[in-house]
Amino acid sequence: MRLGPLSPPEMYKRLTSGNNRRANLTKGGLSMFSTRTGFACDSVTEFQIVLALGEVAQANAQQNADLFWALKGGLNNFGIVTSMKMKTIKSSKIWGGITYYAPDAFSRVLREVCDFVQNETDQDTHIMCSAGYGFGHQAVSCVMYHTRGEENPPSLRRFTSIKPQIEQMCSMRTATQLEFGEELSSFTKDGGRFVPNPLQ
């Protein structure tokens, strides 16, 4: 990832400033828990890294704290990171999946995204809205999760109530993070040619 001509520390500062949800980013290590726990790198407590002289260093809040800070956005520019420690959270059932809409629902979906970003206070939700075009078809989708497993919670009803949906393609159900991760994995494969185009 590159965010223009920014140094990694500056990039990290910008990525993590303010309310994460309002940062409105498609990048920065977003997880389905990010509204509550921040970027994924915020849960890292330590990196192990091999530096330019070949020595192994630990970088955490006490030891090599500047490196610890810089690696959260520093990619492969400071050495070869070999492992990392992360804080865990309790694993529980999650309600979520993908809802597909007919193309003409796009403006309504977009309005609801704005409302969600600006007004929603439920910290256990996460959404990704997409408008896609491929093979002659258009579709609008909303990937959404309630990470405490509440089925069709009030915070997501603004999306679940939009019609018409392409119901045979929708996958809203209760499952685990592993299962939801596998679901999204099935949408991409290696070796493609594309240009990322996130709307900010």
Binding site: M32, V44, I89, S130, L184, D190
Partner: protein
Amino acid sequence: MGDSGKAKVLSDLTEVLGDGLILPGSEKYKQANGSYFSAFENGLKPWCIAQPGDVAQVQSLVKTIRPHILSGICHVAIRGSGHTPFAGSANIDNGVTIDTRRLKGITLNEDKSIVEIGVGETWTAVYTQLEKHGVTVPGGRVGRIGVSGFILGGEFRCAAWAIISA
């Protein structure tokens, strides 16, 4: 970057890595160099792909290649799962690509509050292991992505789609 310089780099690295040094023309090279998320990365052709199997080998690799980098003979790229899409982000023409995907390991501490993850793991592997113990981590939404680039840099999941994320 003369051929003699390149030959010296390759022979020095072979000494350190043995079978962990992958050379052009082999099936392993074709497989490893063709396993990036974007075709722009697959299109680059490094002199060799170095696959250290543990931290000690990473250290030896760095110590061995350092003088060659300082003398201007070669450059290196470092890759994890290879998901960052632009050419040169984790692969290199006429240089050495250090492939960290063999650095595995998912280890929970005793009270299950902290997990140590090798950079060669994917989120699918991490969630599979952790869910057996009733915990997880706030990692990637897409399971097939590697942990290293996601944590150290960020995440793309865009393909032909324009995405709004909140």
